[in-house]
Symmetry: C2
Subunit: 446 residues, 2 copies
């Protein structure tokens, strides 16, 4: 059972030099060093359990998020864990509504990424104390308690507490069967590993061919930098994967509204299921315009990885501005805020297809989408979870993919814990890896 | 003429202990310590001119913004100032679209506040080198050059570069006359100093009565914590100021959408001109709903001080979600982004009524609203600039209010420079003021 007082919160800046091989490259993020602000909380209990939490970053700026986590830690250290989870809504509100800190948000950007990392650690610890993987902690929870974790401020015009409760109560029907199904077959995934923007056609062909052999049937392609490149790459991939497999496009916010419509129309021949992040992540009305324009081509709009909070998601749903909703485990305020978004998606009948990849995003979000299927949506139609084959080796309990599906995690916790050796090696700038890169660079310059 | 290479960028964390007297208290920010992340840039020229820039914060979290400014400084130090201002759009894009840093925004929250502080310093330096106050630098600028300072990414569906140019070209008509008018009578202001939420009725009555004697005719009242308090306070103020003066309400994001409509309806008897920030600053569609509901009561919706970028303002305009647009000199990306918002407001025929107060916001934004009147809107109808009587004594060129209007600033620059002595005294945590407060507190605890 949940126990102990939080004695300390520490945070590390962990960066992987992924930019060297163009992993993760897209039309807007050309040289990401996949990174994380990594939180560890410890209690005064003798069980030795620690909570690990993280938020994903792209290298530079991780130190800013670390600084924000330090600022939030005053709300966490000294608190009783039981007290936190028995009024989780109140604790969430406290973190997000600090009278001084909220000015630098509110609930967006750096401070919200920090909130996410801190709360992810709390959820990890809670699940570990209960001896359950996070998805199972959620699945076993009473609808009343689930609802009590959600701060409904600013979303009651779309979803009231009573409506949320009703959805969760109804979700109990058939829950057992869906849980067994998941344990047997896992949650369906798609791969983004084959077609990063920085890859050559040859590399791309190789990876697609290999992925097909491994059983993948859904493929995401990065687009948006150059139209003729996009046409060539989409054609190539459609030829390799054939007419029946799924192809999704991702522009990573490269276009203005009209430009998005024109560009994607020229790629319609390759029958993409969706266009992801066609324009600014803040442009709800722009996404609605694009959705309307592409509907007749059978192409949906997907977005969410940079949608900064539930108020934005609420409007995306109200405005019919997306047809696939991509939650993110580390940009929204952890499980609490993701619960509210999954419930709104259910009410608006929009499928949730989580964003993953980065550092640890697959590890975390698999828990959320399992809960979504078992207790909220009850459907796999038009649903799948992103998978990227990067950096899993640094996690203590890495995701397991079988037959292009996420195998259900069994270990207690939120799968957030990284290997201590990895954290030590990749800590920025003092870790061995960065020391070596630094002296290498000095050598080149000198 | 513009000259020199930027040799250094330094930043200080300056905090004023305003929470001790409930100055600045509202329904969501109950204990703000008005603060600033304060940037100083120096060049390699012999003229000794420095650029000062700031962004406003509420105490805690200022160190996070300082950290973000440090992260941005690599894009600034070593750059030629002429090169920057001759492609200001490009420089703006570079700061806001760094492939790694944009993940922790993009263009919102901490990293955008940091961008604002840095660019405010660049504009201050540029104006000083030209020997003009910033408003005059802008007024004298060719429309082509003004437009070249704006990054139109993500707003072309609302305002194209050609349209912006046309507006500015048309704005040249009568410009001379409006400039002379401003020099003579100043820009109309309203006061927020009389009715902070933490003030007693007695204090509030005293301040209103005094302000009336000083010539103020427009008063803002903080509301949203308790309805019966609000009714009592609004009644009191309306009695003091009489039926012909203006009263505006400000809820600082306290309500959900439906709650806002119901609450404000109950205050309609006191004939407020607008309700400011009725709900989440991110809730464009919510503001639109509130706008529609209150229109028949003759109450408009005002918002903007926490509207995080031009993409959000674009949608507020497209959705008819505000009737008074409140730009902020330190939350938007400095002059560059504010230009784009003022031009969009002109196109959508919505009056700009800037947010001010805090630390230095009055000093900065007076330049923008002067430019707006002289070169963009050409109208004073339904327009006024917020004024709060706080902390001006710490600025080298503080605002001057005459007859409830901003007197036009004459000194070269953006009025951003603080007194060196103030910065030294209030630097956090090492300044004398904070050392004393700290030992005082230690004494109380001990």
């Amino acid at each position: 059972m949940v126990r102990g007082k939080i004695r300390s919160l520490s945070v590390r800046d962990v960066r992987f030099p992924t930019s060297r091989e163009q992993h993760g490259s897209d039309a807007m993020h050309t040289d990401p060093d996949y990174s994380a602000a990594y939180v560890i909380i410890e209690t005064d209990t003798a069980d030795g359990l620690k909570g690990y939490g993280l938020t994903f970053t792209l290298g530079k700026g991780t130190e800013v998020v670390v600084c924000a986590i330090d600022a939030l830690s005053t709300h966490v250290v000294g608190r009783d864990l039981k007290e936190i989870v028995s009024n989780f809504r109140g604790f969430y509100r406290q973190l997000t509504s600090d009278g001084q800190l909220r000015w630098i948000g509110p609930e967006k950007g750096v401070i919200h990424l920090a909130t996410s990392a801190v709360l992810n650690a709390v959820w990890d610890l809670w699940a570990k104390q209960e001896g359950k993987p996070l998805w199972k902690l959620l699945v076993d929870m009473d609808p009343k308690q689930l609802v009590s974790c959600i701060d409904f401020r600013y979303i009651t015009d779309a979803l009231t507490e009573d409506e949320a409760y009703e959805i969760l109560k109804n979700g109990k029907q058939g829950q057992k069967k869906r849980e067994e199904q998941m344990l047997k077959q896992g949650y369906p995934a798609y791969t983004t590993s084959c077609a990063w923007l920085g890859y050559t056609d040859e590399h791309l062909s190789e990876l697609c061919t290999k992925a097909l052999k491994e059983g993948w049937t859904r493929f995401k392609v990065k687009v948006g930098a150059d139209l003729s490149d996009d046409i060539r790459r989409c054609k190539l991939i459609r030829e390799i994967i054939g007419p029946n497999n799924l192809m999704m496009l991702d522009a990573n916010q490269r276009w203005d509204v009209q430009e998005a419509i024109e560009w994607v129309t020229k790629l319609a021949a390759f029958q993409p299921l969706w266009i992801e992040e066609p324009t600014s992540p803040d442009d709800i009305l722009g996404h609605a315009t694009i959705s309307r324009a592409l509907a007749s081509l059978g192409i949906g709009v997907a977005t969410g990885e940079q949608c900064h909070n539930k108020v934005m998601f609420k409007q995306f749903l109200q405005a019919k501005a997306l047809q696939y909703l991509q939650i993110d485990s580390c940009r929204l305020g952890s499980v609490n805020e993701n619960l509210s978004v999954m419930l709104m998606a259910k009410k608006f009948e929009i499928p949730v297809c989580p964003h993953a990849g980065g550092v640890g995003l697959c590890e975390l979000v698999q828990h959320l989408i399992l809960f979504d299927y078992i207790c909220v949506s009850g459907s796999l139609e038009n649903r799948m979870c992103e998978y990227v084959d990067h950096l899993h080796e640094h996690f203590k309990y890495p995701v397991v993919i079988k037959n292009a599906a996420y195998a259900v995690p069994q270990e207690p916790g939120y799968s957030t814990e990284m290997k201590e050796e990895s954290v030590r090696q990749y800590q920025f700038p003092s870790g061995q890896v960065w020391k070596e890169l630094n002296s290498e660079q000095q050598g080149k310059l000198g």
